[in-house]
Symmetry: C2
Subunit: 136 residues, 2 copies
DNA sequence: TATTCATATAATAATCCGTTCATATGAAAA
DNA sequence: TTTTCATATGAACGGATTATTATATGAATA
């Protein structure tokens, strides 16, 4: 990680500049202030990871397909594979990831395990995403 | 791609089964129906890719950090790097990805290029995600 | 209890993606 | 017009993630 304190030579809008330039010195200082403020209020690495987790899970087509399939009602693994056109093993893998992220849940029904969308928030987000993608 | 028609031997809840099992035959048929319906209403590969695009972009910590930094106000590349603790090149790469996804936008100001969050929807989603991550 | 069958897991191969280093670009200032 | 400096880009590396094949697990039924 090449971080830590840097030399001053690289800093834009440094005080030794006059008032020339498209932005004024005051703006420059404000930007420097904003940058420092942003750095200070930056959530922890762990929290950011947590924020990203759900997005990462939804950002994969194979998982999105599974979700879309489940939005029509709960399905067993075999039927999910049938609906999305994938093989059983991979669907099972992706279901695990979806379940770990609490995006889907499962229940046993006889010999099968039925998966369903975990809650309405998920459904809402997927529908929004779909609507957004359609008007392109 | 091991898809296309399969042999009948693999199909769960097939008609030759009696009414035994945890689920009834009627439920079995309904599941088969749902699976077929899901497959038919499955959006195109292209649309799904499009749905996933924004999620994929937001699913990466380095980009999420940049967004969080920009939520305090527009910043130039150098200040963004300072705020997130990364190097110029990588920040620039990630900014390009964010910009291609229309999640951030940019404008020139003198020598610098100032980046900012593209619209309130983005801000809203990030704030929600942050709130969600905090109550864990 | 033994068998069956849906689902899960392990291991591997293949691909994607973020990071970094080095360098190019091109607008602004001189 | 030349120089400077912020930003962008290209190439290469490495880590991470998905897809696949083969096999294990374990609940349900007989």
């Amino acid at each position: 990680m090449p971080e830590e304190e840097k030399t001053e030579t690289n800093i834009p809008f440094a005080e030794e500049n006059g008032a020339e330039g498209a932005d004024s010195v005051e703006e420059a200082c404000e930007h420097e202030l904003l940058a420092g403020r942003a750095r200070k209020s930056m959530p922890s690495e762990e929290q950011i990871e947590c924020m990203c987790a759900a997005f990462k899970v939804l950002g994969e087509p194979s998982r999105m397909k599974i979700l879309l399939a489940l939005m029509g009602g709960e399905l067993c693994v075999y039927h999910i594979a049938e609906a999305v056109g994938g093989n059983q093993s991979n669907v099972s893998h992706q279901l695990r990831i979806l379940k770990d992220a609490r995006i889907v849940r499962s229940r046993r029904a006889g010999k099968n395990i039925l998966y369903s969308v975990a809650d309405e928030h998920v459904t809402a987000i997927v529908l929004m995403s779909r609507a957004h993608a359609e008007c392109r």
